[in-house]
Symmetry: C2
Subunit: 641 residues, 2 copies
């Protein structure tokens, strides 16, 4: 390797330390107590009469005060042992790093190479290697045990409550269980309905699962380009993105230092890393799509698989015969991968080499358990082009390819749009489920209108929440800079928080058994004027506190029983509490007189918490019958009136 | 009046001047050519081969360079003449301003009184006064002609295109026509399905219409409180909110100077102003709900009606018998108006005076044509409380009251929640339509999760877009400061833009005939690298340009055929254009060979624009059959394959 050290450009500083009032905890699954499954416990104030709340934690060791972080060394690699102990893999020397892997960057601009070198692993041909193959053979891996524990969010097995929550949601045919078991995880993977993106060479990984019967996940895109940004910025963005909740990160780097950037990211990433290998392949032939070859592409796949990339976007559905379908579009082909392949196909007048070599791609990816993310190269780039023939023709082909990849033992998810108006989102979701045998859908947004550049996290957050509800398994974030520029650190955070909102709103609407626990905890904090708890239970405690400080900066206001909207003498929450206190102070006869139309059991006695506990069962019961559809609402109204 | 001038606090500076590359234009409706209906024309660059785009304009005279703005004098009052010329009204001295109208503010803190005084008008008992009464009698008012012109967005009567757009949407039983006529407006108002909030004393008003068969509207809340903000800030916020697209503004002031603040706002507002009169009534009895009386409330209604407030939020559905239904809620009663009335009802153990005096309230509001916004005092304040019995019991009462108000000749809309998870939004919308005879629904959000304080514009923007699609007529914005503090100028803008996105996404999904024109124009600009056009066609050109400048600050980049995401040698849009150019250069035989599975008519010839024009008819045709539901998609796929 011919790349010189250039320390100035790589002294990455990343954000470490816990979130406000949070503590990293680890759960030890019964099935494999040696595993340490991370959770974040949000510590409530003394005024709270309820336990601390555990929440899903994507942030990795960076928020554990007991771990010393050194990005130059990378994270520990405990998962390498899991892979080795189940066998079927060999360690080997691996491919040499070539100058073109980093865009033939000269010494002056070369980023410092990552210090440690790990010899890659690859599968031996006969033994099961991928999570899909293990699942098919009825074998539960440590990864499966790990994600089962993780998905339960630290709650005990409260089946009754969980079943009530499920009944209160509308999941459009998903099969979210009341409690996730390792066997359920295995079964979902075997059916192709979920994946655990987990390259055997990504030893730093904290496994996670993507599938519509699990918590809705989000992805954050980072990556340098020919125009701007550097290695340390990208590592910092990755750590920053997972701090706020990114479940996976895609490195979409183009330009120079592309191999080195990826190495730094992978060695420091506890979340799955995805890439679009055609981007790097293109860099290797001077940016000219016409010069791309299967050999060059294949070599790039091996290069990245050895590094530990967990999923590859492969645009194998952009077939020669579909390209003309885009000619009359308002925005043609907007996917980079799609347009590269379209140009190649037209220039050579040949079927895409990704399609003709798909078998070989499967064989290669299987050896490392790199998951497919079948790319939507013909996705719509505008409202006008949504759900058109080009998009759906490609989706049908992705369905075909899914089945081939499964036959080859690979894990598969499917990428989706893009720009789609609200009324076409469910059609798109339903078609994906049907064409692709329920393989997980992974969509960019979709953006529900084109008219708000600068706010596309919002135009797309709307579509993302909806498609998540309808069954999409992972939502790729869109930042405020979409269409305009490269996201900086703040944009990454805004994109991640927006998409955590979308994913959580989707989980709530689906009736995910544990989703509403956090909403309820935060709402109780809000109602009881526990300001710090309200901030800390939110997705972004820092911003919530800063906004509160802007209007009421004094510490005393953080325990004040009023808020800045109304002031001390005029506050609806205070008045409601007065109403409760007043009602609680009345005798039984008085209550009866006070509530002329009340029905049995609707009394308030004891503390507010007792009252809540008494009523919650009743409300849950009503919930399952009342809220699902208009007919049921009507019936319930009759019953209650 | 005993209030001294205090000039320092009232030298309001407001933002004037056109938006980037925009020009104020006025349309003259055929039915009343003397009316001047404002539109904003977005002027495209020379490179654009399409006409400039007219868009709806809420910004009033502030963006007209030919109008001299002086907030001390207020806006011109042309509408006063319309009211007088149709008769049935009398001018009278009006109520005296009392010290308690401004919270008994002392001289030191009194805001400067507004200089000009206009004697109020009120209806004479027999003649029709309200838009509803005129509509019922078959009379088309100038307000109706004005809004009909305004709703058509400056497009000519392109019925064919409009019908195709309507067919491509899903409006859930709304009846949006291809083109809005004054007669259609009259009919919708007569049916109670739309309102034109237009107090006869608001001469400065540029009329607008609220109803689900019209463009979805948004409201921005402003207002000072006991804790913070001042008169000039509120006038500035109002002008700022309408600059970015607020269709109405609610002045929710509490604290002191409440009458004076409202006078300044009204005299400078071209949009309808709404208020919650109970807030001011409460100020008049030292903030103690128990001391509220019907007489004090009635006096406040008269005070505000004479000033020209266009709609009142009246929480007349908070009945004594419903209050206990909230006792077990996670967040009790969160509406300020609702909690005030609940406290009053319990303290006196009496039915709400708003309910018992509802007839008198109608008679009073009718005399000024103040529209009802029937308040949802029992709206849910958390996901846990959504669509519960308390909320729906109140909604049923609002339905009863709607019919009473119509009988009295009043215009009515209905307020809605609040916090509602996605799967309960449509149930809520459908119940409102049914219970309230299709009177326009006007909702706050709803917020689709509770867990993101600091981002509630987004949690609620998701719900707002959805309920707008399902039939909600006006969306009340939520700013990032919701639950945390009072919105400043930036928050107001963020809230307005977010809600413009939601409203527009709703219009697109409903198939509003003109909505997609703007998306298409912007997407064409994006695809053709007309950067300035892309910025200017967006909802916030300033932010779009600033974001682009951050990555690529040079002016040359604003005409560059690449974007900062990919850099010059690697850009999907550029590649797509290359693909088109390449295809366009081929002969017919070559094309036939190139597109082995192409179907008739799918050729590209002439300019890109020609090609687009050729294909748009075909795509529209496909649109109406292809995109509506999954079955149709399937059929279409068969037909095309």
């Amino acid at each position: 390797m011919n790349i010189r050290s250039n320390p100035e450009t790589t002294r990455a500083a990343v954000t470490t330390g816990a979130l406000p009032s949070s503590k990293k905890i680890y759960a030890n699954p019964t099935a494999a107590p040696e595993l340490r499954v991370p959770l974040r416990e949000i510590i409530l104030s003394e005024a709270a009469s309820e336990p601390n709340l555990p929440v899903y934690d994507t942030s990795g060791p960076y928020t554990d005060p007991n771990v010393v972080i050194d990005v130059n060394k990378g994270l520990p690699r405990p998962r390498t042992e899991w892979v080795k102990e189940r066998g079927g893999v060999e360690q080997y020397e691996g491919r040499d790093i070539k100058p073109e892997d980093n865009g033939n960057v000269g010494a002056a601009h070369a980023a410092k190479a990552f210090t440690a070198h790990h010899q890659p692993l690859r599968g031996l041909s006969d033994a099961p290697i991928t999570q899909y193959e293990f699942a098919k053979r009825g074998i539960i891996t440590k990864e499966m045990i790990y994600v089962a524990e993780r998905e339960n969010l630290g709650r005990k097995q409260q089946l009754e409550r969980a079943e009530a929550a499920l009944a209160d949601g509308e999941s459009f045919g998903a099969a979210v269980p009341a409690f996730i078991t390792p066997e359920f995880v295995r079964d979902e993977i075997a059916r192709g309905r979920a994946i655990i993106p987990a390259n055997i060479n990504h030893g730093e990984l904290e496994p996670m699962i993507i599938g519509r019967n699990f918590l809705t996940k989000i992805n954050a895109n980072i990556g340098n380009s020919a125009v701007t940004s550097s290695v340390e910025e990208e590592v910092d963005k990755m750590v920053w993105a997972i701090r706020w909740g990114a479940d996976t990160v895609m490195d979409l780097s183009t330009g120079r230092n592309i191999h080195t950037t990826r190495e730094w990211i992978l060695r420091n990433s506890p979340v799955p890393i995805g890439t679009v290998p055609i981007y790097q392949a293109l860099e290797k032939c001077e940016g000219d799509p016409v010069k791309l070859t299967w050999e060059l592409y294949k070599d790039t796949l091996i290069e990245q698989a050895e590094q530990g990339v967990d999923y590859f976007t492969i645009h194998a559905g952009v077939r020669l015969q579909y390209i003309h379908l885009t000619a009359s579009r308002v925005t043609g082909i907007v996917s980079r991968g799609g347009s590269i392949m379209a140009k190649w196909c037209l220039a050579h007048h040949k079927e895409s080499f990704l399609y003709t070599h798909f078998d070989e791609i499967c064989d290669l990816m299987r050896k490392y358990d790199v998951s497919f993310s079948l790319g939507d190269g013909l996705r719509p780039g505008s409202i006008a082009d949504a759900n058109d023939r080009a998009q759906f023709a490609e989706l049908e082909t992705l369905g075909e390819l899914t089945k081939i990849a499964w036959d080859k033992g690979c894990q598969v998810m499917i990428e989706g749009p893009g720009h789609v108006p609200m009324h076409k989102i469910k059609i798109n979701m339903d078609k994906q489920l049907k064409e692709c045998g329920e393989a997980p859908f992974y969509t960019l947004g979709p953006l529900t209108t084109d008219i708000a550049p600068g706010y596309d996290h919002i135009t797309s957050g709307i579509g993302a929440a909806m498609i998540g509800w309808f069954g999409c398994a992972m939502l790729c974030y869109v930042t405020p800079k979409e269409h305009l520029g490269l996201p900086d650190r703040n944009d990454v955070k805004t994109g991640v928080i927006t998409y955590k909102i979308a994913a959580h709103a989707a989980d709530l609407a689906k009736g995910h058994p544990a989703a509403q626990l956090r909403d309820d905890a935060l709402s109780r904090a809000r109602f009881e004027f526990r300001w710090q708890d309200q901030f800390n239970l939110g997705l972004d405690p820092d911003t919530a506190q800063a906004f509160h400080d802007e209007t009421l900066p004094k510490d005393a206001h953080k325990v004040a029983h009023f808020c800045s909207m109304c002031g001390p003498k005029f506050c609806s929450m205070k008045i409601t509490q007065d109403v409760r206190d007043y009602a609680a102070g009345l005798g039984d006869n008085e209550k009866a007189a006070l509530y002329p139309v009340g029905h049995a059991g609707m009394t308030i006695s004891g503390t507010i918490e007792d009252g809540m506990a008494q009523m919650s069962a009743k409300f849950k019961e009503m919930g399952s019958s009342v809220y699902l559809d208009a007919e049921k609402v009507k019936e319930s109204n009759k019953a209650l009136s």
